[in-house]
């Protein structure tokens, strides 16, 4: 895992800490179960930050149909 990916995952994990105000309703045992799913997913997702499409590219498609038809 690159340092960039690693730190991005850590930041997101911080939001889930028991003492984080954003997370006051989450019991500890639920947090553990959630993290089992979330950590591998976020690791994969944060890997996207290593993709470099080029400055300003591409223009983001507006809707699914255009996304499909415009790029084929």
């Amino acid at each position: 895992m690159s340092q960039e990916v690693d730190s991005a995952v850590v930041i997101t994990m911080d939001h889930l800490k028991v003492d984080n105000p954003l997370n006051t309703l989450r019991p500890e045992e639920n947090r553990v179960e959630l993290l089992k799913v979330l950590v591998p997913a976020l690791t994969e997702i944060k890997h996207l930050s290593t993709f470099n499409p080029g400055i300003g590219e591409p223009h983001i498609p507006i809707c699914c149909k255009q996304e499909v038809t415009m790029h084929w």
């Binding site: 979330l38 976020l42 944060k46 996207l48 499409p53 983001i60 790029h71």
Partner: protein, 476 residues
């Protein structure tokens, strides 16, 4: 008389007998309802069986056919719908507690198409809860079992449809596919699963999992059967703005010739043939050899940007699913199966930036596949790196490396949801434990005819699709 052999026949054979008035749709339906009821104690593949509707539709079909009003190859043919498909006045649960009493007041567009074609609805098949998983082990309706080996999962999320079709309990089961949910159970159960191009088949009236990745399609026992069903299911629908106005071709056209001379087949060896069960690797590579024998020009290819597909699928899939379930996650969190709950809740922690970044990268992945598919007509890959896992297994070892079952199941399938390209899964052999193995054929957008043609040719020179499980031996 409706024999066991007939209930295991392909849709192709059965529709011929019905059309020629050699087979009564009513007798066929009665026998299949009986078998389906019996199977519940063994396979538990259905959420709801609808004998009254089935017999009424079969009676109507029989009367119409006898009076010379034959509607086509699905007329009088018994099928099942995944329990995500809305069926008017018939409960549609998504194998969930939350929707356990939900009775839609309209049919999904695809249900309407199939009903208009004369298909007979036997009932609603099990799904992984809300289609969010590959095991079809709903705690609310009990786990569905794999007819090849009852202690194994049928795959998912369309596990009920695949189990029913493999077991000879229906001639087609509908599926939906967001990361592989048609192809994974088709692979686990040794049947054919077709995920069409995004926009080819309407999703209107089918409970969504992730709207920009969701596809719907058929699960059948042969490629010809899948082609016929797709032809009925496909088409523009004003209720689903992602559907396209392209005409629906006759998908069976070209399914007569097994000569693949001139067809170019790409095999992404480095990207799809490492870290998988050696028996599956050997099975798919042997299938590539058969395609060469049939005249296809097979060569190794490499797909650009493939390493980003899983991140894109997860960022988009998890976010869209969390958005769809947002209200229930706040109000009915305890009513989800634990694994579905964690997966949906995790989606709430994907940032908007991650979602949009994934959307930004997605066209590059589509371009990567398009680039390779401008040089070859179809790609051949394994459907799954493993055979159907044992029920209750969370981790598996693939070539000695531990991996979670949920990750390994979607490893080779999810990229076709990111691209939207048509993908056919079909049996390519059995392993040493007599469990089915499967390969995928990936084609260009709206070129379902290509993957069907290659799949059909392969099927004609192999016998895998004629092998059936003997789940009935476990009836007590």
């Amino acid at each position: 008389m409706v024999t066991q052999e007939l209930t295991m026949a392909s849709l192709y054979e059965v529709q011929e007998k019905i059309r020629n008035r050699e087979l009564s749709p009513v007798e066929l339906t009665q026998q299949m309802l009986k078998n389906l009821e019996l199977s519940q104690g063994v396979l538990n593949a259905m959420v709801t069986i609808t004998p009254e509707i089935a017999l009424a539709q079969a009676n109507r079909a029989e009367q119409e056919i006898l009076s010379g009003n034959y509607r086509g190859p699905l007329h009088g043919v018994p099928i099942v719908y995944k329990d995500l498909y809305y069926t008017k006045n018939v409960r549609t649960t998504a194998s969930s507690k939350i929707l356990s009493d939900f009775v839609p007041d309209y049919d999904a567009t695809v249900v309407r198409h199939l009903t208009d074609a004369g298909a007979v609805m036997l009932g609603k098949s099990q799904t992984h809860e809300f289609a969010k998983g590959g095991l079809t082990d709903s705690p609310h309706f009990g786990p569905c079992r794999n007819p090849w080996q009852l202690d194994r999962v049928p795959g998912g999320s369309s596990g009920g449809s695949a189990a029913v079709v493999a077991a000879g309990l229906a001639f087609m089961g509908t599926g939906s596919d967001t990361a592989g949910s048609i192809r994974i159970p088709a692979a686990c159960c040794g049947v054919v699963g077709l995920k069409p191009t995004y926009g080819r088949v309407s999703r209107h009236g089918i409970f969504p999992l992730a709207w920009s990745l969701d596809h719907v399609g058929p699960i059948t026992r042969s490629v010809w059967d899948a082609a016929i069903c797709l032809g009925v299911m496909a088409g523009y629908d004003s209720h689903d703005p992602t559907t396209v106005t392209l005409p629906v071709p006759d998908y069976t056209q070209g399914l007569t010739d097994i000569d693949l001379t001139g067809v170019k087949v790409g095999v992404p060896i480095k990207q799809y043939f490492e870290d998988l069960d050696p028996e599956i690797k050997a099975g798919v590579l042997a299938a590539v050899d058969r395609l060469s024998d049939l005249g296809a020009e097979c060569r190794e290819v490499e797909i650009p940007n493939l390493e980003y597909t899983l991140g894109v699928q997860m960022a988009i899939g998890m976010s869209e699913a969390a958005a769809i379930h947002h209200q229930w996650l706040s109000e009915r969190i305890e009513d989800y199966a634990p694994d579905v709950r964690w997966k949906l809740e995790a989606g709430r922690f994907i940032s908007a930036v991650d979602y949009l970044r994934a959307s930004q990268i997605r066209p590059f992945i589509q371009q990567g596949f398009s680039q390779v598919l401008s040089e070859v007509d179809v790609l051949v890959t394994p459907t799954l790196p493993i055979v159907a896992p044992f029920m209750g297994t969370e981790m598996v070892s693939v070539n000695g490396k531990p991996e979670s079952v949920s990750d390994v199941m979607i490893r080779f399938t999810h990229s076709s949801n990111v691209t939207g390209f048509p993908t056919l899964a079909l049996p390519c052999g059995f392993n040493s434990e007599n469990l089915p193995m499967s390969m995928q054929l990936i084609g260009r957008p709206f070129a379902e005819t290509d993957v069907l043609r290659v799949g059909y040719a392969y099927e004609q020179v192999t016998q895998w699709h004629t092998r059936h499980p003997h789940w009935e031996n476990d009836l007590t």
